[in-house]
């Protein structure tokens, strides 16, 4: 299996505070990788580094085969990003959002036209092409946001709490999209506070106080921590923070 994220002895310090303390892990192509941890455990810091938005203090990492010190622009072109807080522009239309993000990711206008038609057809959103994002139901918005995040066929898509505040049916429909992307070979790197969603990942890492305390399949983690479910695993690892 091809390794698409490779992290070795990654350290990030803010003054004397160690936000990421010697992280080591690999993520493979097409994998759904759950990146869990308590608030303040260092998840956001690590994600920013992997997205090429922040430099580590020491250590090495490659994302989609590119070095996160020297090749941050190439990293950015080969990843997608979506979060509940930031995804699409509410006061632009569906087509305008697609055009904007295509521009950001360097997709040529000719390619865009073809891909856009296919995307709108697949999502059943052809009639909503000229509607403002703000006027769409949440479920559609989410589908579109995710599709736009992978519009440029990135190797990896980073999802930062993509399902926060969403109703239980829409939340599950979103996971259908994640599975489909993974079937197409896109690696999904996802954070969540819903422990049932941790069960849907191929592998899960759990951070605590800047370190990765556990990394394995949900099945193995449950065995290792003699836990009924991932919620119990998480509580056992992340208790005693702060």
């Amino acid at each position: 299996m091809e390794t698409v994220i490779e992290v070795r002895n990654l350290v990030k310090k803010f003054g004397s505070f160690v936000a990421n303390d010697h992280l080591n892990f690999d993520v493979y192509q097409g994998e759904i990788f759950g990146f869990l941890g308590a608030n303040g455990a260092g998840k956001t810091t690590a994600m920013k580094i992997l997205c090429g938005l922040s430099s580590p203090t020491s250590g090495e990492a490659k994302v989609a085969g590119f070095d996160i010190y020297k090749e941050t622009e190439k990293v950015k072109r080969n990843i997608g990003y979506m979060s509940q807080k930031f995804s699409l522009y509410e006061d632009l239309t569906v087509a305008e959002n697609i055009r904007f993000f295509s521009g950001v990711y360097g997709i040529s206008p000719a390619d865009r036209k073809e891909k856009q038609d296919k995307l709108l057809k697949d999502l059943g959103l052809e009639s909503a092409k000229d509607s403002l994002i703000g006027s769409l139901p949440l479920g559609w918005k989410q589908k579109l946001a995710f599709s736009v995040a992978i519009f440029h066929d990135p190797k990896i898509v980073f999802l930062d709490e993509p399902t926060g505040g969403v109703d239980p049916i829409t939340r599950r429909k979103f996971w259908d999209l994640i599975y489909e992307a993974s079937d197409r070979g896109i690696t999904v790197f996802v954070t969540t506070h819903y422990m049932d969603e941790a069960e849907y990942c191929n592998r899960v890492s759990i951070m605590n106080a800047g370190r990765i305390e556990a990394l394995d399949t949900p099945e193995n983690l449950k065995k290792q921590y003699s836990a009924k479910n991932m919620d119990e695993v998480f509580l056992k690892i992340a208790r005693n923070t702060e």
Binding site: T170, H193, M195, R239
Partner: protein
């Protein structure tokens, strides 16, 4: 003061036929409910359900278009000043002064309500003691969990009769969420009536009663236990070694009504509730699923909520 009016209300919060629209968006539609004295009551629902709008009306920060509401017998429009003195509120967004220290924030809120930290310290002691070592730190520099504890301390410092908390656990990790609910249970023991909102379905079971909300409407109100017992569908838990294929295969099976992921299992209902476990099993074995498990399972609040959503849509 309200304590001297001589009225005794069993219902601490009454809401009757409340509606509110913002321009062309109907935020809440004809909501009626009561919260009893000493109750821990949950408004459960996703973003856009109308939880915040309802709370802001009760807090006298918004005026409803239709209907009436009272807090401890006082009308939310006429008696807003009295209500503000007896209610503690923790809004969804961090509402404290970021450039004041922990201790300054607490003193500020005590002073606004014409009391002192010392006078009501007993009420907040268990919570505040956890952040007291950082009392000289600016509120803006606190971690998420500590901000939450400070906000709760400030909401309590005037010893409110009613506490209203708008999504206190959103974006909070599973450990801090557990701790927060333990704090709420302790406050309830002290006789405070609590109205709390959350998008996390599993937190419903920690409330005495809940209102399940979606798109401005109340779908149902009851104790978590009654809600779950009222679910009459036959529900199966199913898993195999390939969960994504399992869900696709089940959805394309003519006898499946719904198939949703629930942690390590799928929760599945049949078209009519006559479909037997063995029928699912045989179908899936033919589809070449391995390590197959099919068994009856008791519903959770989330199953109930999803069934209600399906009925509405």
């Amino acid at each position: 003061m309200f304590r001297d009016t001589g009225y005794k209300y069993a219902a601490m919060i009454t809401i009757q036929h409340i509606s509110k629209a913002y321009k062309n968006v109907q935020a809440i539609t004809d909501i009626s409910l009561e919260v009893q004295k000493g109750e821990l009551f949950g408004l459960i629902g996703p973003d856009g359900a109308g939880k915040t709008t309802l709370m802001r009306i009760l807090m006298t920060l918004l005026i409803q278009d239709k209907g009436t509401a009272t807090m401890n017998g006082f009308d939310v429009i006429k008696d807003y000043k009295k209500i503000r003195n007896m209610v503690g509120y923790m809004p969804g967004r961090f509402s404290l002064y970021q450039d004041l220290t922990v201790e300054e924030n607490l003193n500020f809120f005590a002073t606004v309500f014409k009391t002192t930290v010392a006078e009501n310290y007993e009420l907040i002691r268990d919570i505040y003691i956890q952040i007291e070592p950082f009392k000289n730190r600016l509120a803006g520099k606190l971690s998420g969990g500590m901000k939450q504890k400070l906000a709760l301390s400030c909401a309590l410092i005037h010893k409110p009769e009613i506490l209203i908390l708008d999504e206190p656990t959103t974006g909070v990790d599973a450990v801090s969420r557990k701790e927060f609910w333990e704090m709420l249970k302790n406050l309830q023991q002290k006789g405070i009536t609590i109205l709390v909102s959350t998008p996390y379905m599993d937190e419903a079971t920690l409330c005495n009663r809940v209102a399940l909300m979606q798109k401005g409407k109340v779908l149902d109100i009851d104790t978590p236990r009654n809600l779950v017992e009222g679910y009459t569908r036959k529900l199966y838990a199913i898993r195999s070694n390939d969960m994504h294929r399992l869900i696709l295969d089940l959805r394309s099976y003519e006898k499946t009504d719904s198939a949703y992921a629930f942690g390590q299992y799928l929760h599945v209902t049949g078209k009519d509730d006559e479909v037997e476990a063995t029928e699912f099993e045989n179908y899936l074995l033919k589809k070449d699923h391995h390590e197959l498990q099919v068994f009856d399972i008791a519903p959770t609040i989330e199953d109930v909520f999803m069934e209600l959503l399906r009925e509405v849509e």
